[in-house]
């Protein structure tokens, strides 16, 4: 019935919860069915006995059924609670596990060939599309339990005669076939539309929120809201169709339950108490099938979520990082020119000539446009991990993560202590500013560096690159946004740092002072293309 599977193997803990939830669901379903059936049988039996006089009353065993009724009421409640709690626990743990696995795969993918996703899109998949799979796990224990309950109901109805049972079986079979086939087919298109619309909406919101300043200045809020509202209308339209299909499936159930009751009434050949039991058991067994109707109606949405996750699912699982022995510093090649480790190179050329492209390629962030080499092999042929251990980048956009100043610095490598952070921040001319903050290194920055100004963010990213302690330091416009005095101090301190460690440097800058750190100049325009 539910052909879809959870995209990754479920951990044993989750599978255990699903099993317990299944038994709880079965207990709740059968308990509820028995409660109704026994009540009907008890009532009818009592009426018969009451009508037949005192002797019959005395012979009627009322203690057992009345105790059973009360006992079943408690069992049903407790079992239902257990089923819901355990199945949701299983689902939420499974989703958290899937999120963390897929994030790890995305993070470990080679940046130069990783799937082309904007951050809004990727997080839409990791948050929204994975949430759509919740249903898949939550309903999993309920479906076999529903079938089990329906079968028990069928056995109960059998007491009222073969014809009644046969009719109920026919109604159940018709219902199951209709529910299994119709809703998933009808809802496939609207579910796809809804998932696509919500993902577009999420991406748009993230992109526009990043541009608030201009939205305010140019009064674009209404225009942007209209763009978003149009997208939201698409979402509503698709969801309206889905809601109708869901309403129709529950309507189908009411119809089934009605016919099952009527059939049991008309076809019963048994005594009245058993007929009462059969009628109520028939309606209860149809009710049990409701769980299947609900999963069936949402199957298309789940399938859509799974399909959108495919791009992440097909990423290879990260292999355990094998601690390679630290490689010796490697020379860099720009076309025919080769620079030994420890060289200080300045990239020159007008704005837009590709200096940043060269630096980002050397950092392993993107595929090289130019003929660049490291350790004698062309950069494109070198695995990303072997590029990284040679270089540390302070990019043009500082690329700070949301978190504390220390969180950002710790990105550079594991095991950096406060003293090392202070030293690097002093070199980057940022320590006095951080010393004045009440929380110092534990100051929370917020998105993109939050409370820091542009120049301060840049210097924090320089300190981070220094802490990585790689053979080559890559600096892209290191003094952008700095006043002349700070710039001079930064250049002097960087020189001391590089000299002390014999570190190589590749720098791009429009300002003359930082360029004085370099002893050799390369015009980007003369580096041949790859």
């Amino acid at each position: 019935m539910i052909a879809l599977r959870f995209p990754l193997p479920l951990p044993p803990r989750v599978r255990g919860r699903i099993t317990i939830a299944f038994f709880a669901a079965l207990a709740a379903g059968v308990g509820g069915l028995a409660l109704l059936g026994v009540s009907g049988w008890f009532l009818t039996g009592a009426a018969l006995a009451g009508a037949s006089g005192t002797a019959a009353v005395a012979a009627f065993n009322y203690l057992l059924p009345s105790a059973a009724i009360r006992g079943l009421a408690v069992v049903r409640t407790a079992a239902r609670y257990g089923e819901r709690l355990w199945s949701h626990e299983a689902a939420l743990h499974a989703l958290a596990g899937l999120r963390s696995t897929l994030f790890a795969r995305l993070a470990h993918a080679d940046g130069r060939s990783a799937p082309d996703l904007s951050s809004g899109d990727a997080s839409a998949r990791l948050i929204g599309d994975i949430a759509a799979l919740e249903d898949l796990v939550v309903r999993r224990p309920g479906i076999p339990a529903a079938v089990g309950t329906a079968l028990v109901g069928l056995v109960a109805v059998m007491l009222a005669g073969w014809l009644a049972a046969l009719l109920l079986a026919a109604v159940l079979a018709l219902l199951l076939v209709a529910l299994a086939l119709l809703p998933p087919r009808l809802s496939a298109a609207p579910a796809a539309d809804a998932a696509a619309a919500v993902s577009r909406l999420r991406r748009m919101l993230v992109d526009y929120a990043a541009a608030r300043s201009e939205i305010i200045t140019y009064g674009l809020a209404d225009r942007v809201t209209m763009l978003l509202a149009a997208e939201a209308d698409q979402l509503d339209k698709a969801q309206r169709q889905l809601a109708r299909i869901e309403a129709a499936s529950s309507g189908l159930l009411i119809l089934g339950s009605t016919f099952a009751a009527a059939a049991a009434l008309l076809a019963s050949t048994a005594a009245p108490p058993i007929t009462a039991l059969a009628v109520l058991a028939a309606t209860a067994s149809i009710e049990a099938v409701a769980a299947i109707a609900r999963s069936s109606a949402r199957e298309a949405a789940v399938a859509e979520g799974t399909a959108r996750l495919q791009v992440l699912l097909t990423l290879p699982a990260p292999h355990a990082a094998t601690a390679l022995p630290a490689m010796a510093p490697q020379p860099l090649g720009f076309g025919a020119a080769c620079f030994p480790p420890g060289s200080r190179i300045a990239l020159t050329g007008p704005s837009g000539s590709g200096k940043t492209q060269v630096i980002e390629a050397l950092a392993g962030l993107r595929a090289p446009f130019h003929a660049l080499a490291m350790g004698g092999t062309p950069l494109a042929e070198r695995p990303a991990s072997l590029i990284r251990e040679q270089v540390a980048l302070a990019p043009q956009e500082p690329m700070l993560i949301a978190g504390t100043i220390a969180d950002n610095l710790r990105l550079a490598r594991p095991g950096i202590d406060a003293a090392a952070m202070e030293l690097a921040l002093r070199t980057a001319q940022l320590w006095p500013r951080i010393e004045r903050m009440p929380q110092r290194l534990d100051t929370v920055l917020g998105e993109d560096g939050g409370v820091l100004s542009g120049g301060e963010r840049k210097r924090l990213s320089i300190a981070r690159a220094l802490l990585a302690e790689r053979p080559w330091l890559l600096l892209d416009e290191p003094s952008e946004g700095l006043d002349a005095a700070t710039e001079a101090a930064l250049v002097a301190a960087l020189e001391v740092w590089l000299d002390a460690r014999g570190m190589g440097l590749v720098i791009a800058s429009h300002h003359p002072p930082p360029l004085r750190l370099a002893s050799q100049h390369i015009a980007v325009a003369v580096v041949p293309r790859a």
Binding site: T77, R84, R212, A229, V279
Partner: protein, 491 residues
């Protein structure tokens, strides 16, 4: 009607099986079922439409607030998406699923009690009596669950913000080989949110279990009472005579008494999430009150305070033309002051007069690029700008060579990588956009940064020239730009 039909038919069988009673009963069963089918279907569809209408109104109110607020109060990027999509969806689900059920939960049980009372006053009394602990249980469980729901909404928004941030910075995370550490952190955060959600669900399910328990208990009581009454074994003098049809009717009706309330309990999670979402959305700050609009810019002892920052006091005036340079060491708050002059951040002290919003253009450090054509991006400040003025501005900032080098020219579509524009090119797109907007006051944040010397000199000359036609305020530390300024404000 369904119940009456079942009772009639069963009694007919009991009485010895007159076929007419059986047929009437069965017909009633089918009719009752169809009636229920129609009302349930329309209730579900109408409920959805109500939810949709609410979501539309909320989006129209919330989106502008989410996107047109600057400064420290603005939600983070990922949280913005959560507010705009997930929280509104939670409110929509409450309106679609909980609100209609709540209405039927107040009316339907009363109706059932009245109908049952006609058959058996004692059974009606039993139903009514179990209602009281039912309601108390609901209130108690609800209070605890709401708090947990609030915390969960916050946790989900934070998780979404964390994922957006970390995915955005994957290149640098990969560069430093920190994937494993960051993935561990992201996984831990997801697990944490799962634990919180489970806590919320435990409370929600407990409240519905309480409801279910009383529902089951009362059905059991009614069944036992009716049974003993029919047997004539009641331990107290029978207050009423109960025939079989009435007893069975009451038994079948008993679950109906609780059905709307059980539905209410099932939808209770939606109510809690919806309320928590509404509360979270209400906490998104209102738009900043704009300073009084005037003919020119005038600051008197203006102080702007950010977390960890204090700028000012600053006083200066600028008329219809002229170039003011705000200079100062990095981190002294040049950008923040510019935002205050743009009316985006309210000063903490002093008085600030500035031009009305429609008279200000902004060229920022990281200009906005919408996923559309380069031309449309340039025209964002003035969508009706003609081709000539676009071409003129593109030439003035020195982007003409770039435009000529692209096969699609101005029709080049900006993708989410910014179409590989360099930092300097992006900045010049922002400046060209500000020029095309053709406003009385031009604010530019570090317009010459990331540019090589010839390009920077061109921009300096351009701004000096613009300052003859309009008021220009520039935040910069470029000495070439400061040299041509009419006035320098040093922070």
């Amino acid at each position: 009607m369904f119940a009456w039909g079942v009772a009639t038919a069963l009694e007919a069988r009991l009485a010895g099986g007159t076929t007419s009673g059986l047929a009437t009963g069965s017909a009633l069963v089918v009719l009752g079922g169809l009636l229920r089918l129609a009302s349930q279907y329309s209730a579900q569809v109408l409920g959805f439409d109500k939810g949709r209408a609410l979501a539309r109104a909320r989006r129209a109110a919330v989106f502008p607030r989410l996107l047109a607020i600057a400064g420290p109060g603005a939600p983070a990027l990922g949280a913005t998406a959560t507010f705009g999509i997930d929280h509104i969806a939670a409110e929509q689900a409450r309106a679609a699923r909980f609100d209609p059920v709540r209405q039927s939960a107040t009316l339907a049980p009363l109706l059932v009690v009245v109908v049952v009372a006609f058959q058996s006053r004692v059974a009606a009394l039993i139903l009514f009596a179990t209602l009281i602990p039912f309601v108390i249980g609901m209130i108690l469980a609800g209070g605890a669950a709401r708090q947990a729901a609030d915390r969960q909404m916050a946790a989900i928004a934070a998780l979404s913000a964390l994922y957006v941030d970390r995915i955005r910075h994957l290149p640098i995370i990969r560069h430093f080989g920190a994937e494993e550490r960051i993935a561990r952190q992201a996984g831990g955060a997801a697990q944490d949110v799962a634990e919180r959600t489970i806590a919320v669900l435990r409370a929600a399910f407990l409240s519905s279990a309480v409801l279910e328990f009383f529902a089951a208990l009362s059905v059991a009581l009614v069944a036992v009472y009716c049974g003993f009454s029919l047997l004539g074994l009641l331990p107290f003098p029978a207050p009423e005579h109960l025939d079989y049809r009435a007893a069975f009717f009451v038994l079948v009706m008993a679950p109906e008494f609780y059905l709307p309330m059980r539905r209410l309990a099932a939808a209770y999670h939606e109510k809690q999430l919806g309320e928590a979402a509404e509360k979270a959305l209400a906490e998104v700050p209102e738009l900043v009150a704009r300073p009084c609009a005037s003919e020119g810019v005038a600051l008197r002892d203006v102080v702007v305070v950010w977390p960890g920052h204090r700028i000012g006091p600053i006083s200066f005036e600028l008329g219809r033309v002229g170039l003011v340079c705000i200079t100062g060491p990095t981190g002294s708050g040049k950008t923040s002051l510019l935002a205050a002059i743009a009316g985006q951040v309210a000063p903490s002290e002093g008085t600030l007069e500035t031009l009305p919003p429609g008279a200000i253009a902004w060229a920022g450090q990281v200009p906005l690029l919408l996923p559309t054509t380069l031309a449309e991006n340039l025209r964002l400040g003035r969508p009706d700008a003609d081709c000539a003025s676009v071409a003129k501005a593109v030439g003035a900032v020195g982007l003409d060579a770039l435009v000529a080098s692209r096969t699609d020219g101005l029709a080049t579509v900006i993708d989410h990588h910014g179409a590989w524009l360099s930092g300097g090119e992006r900045r010049r797109v922002g400046l060209a956009r500000a020029l095309i907007a053709d406003r009385a006051l031009l604010l530019a944040d570090e317009p010459t940064a990331d540019l090589d010397a010839p390009s920077a000199e061109r921009i300096v000359a351009l701004l000096a020239n613009e300052a003859k036609r309009r008021a220009v305020i520039v935040a910069t530390h470029d000495e070439r730009l400061a040299a041509v300024a009419d006035r320098i404000i040093a922070l």
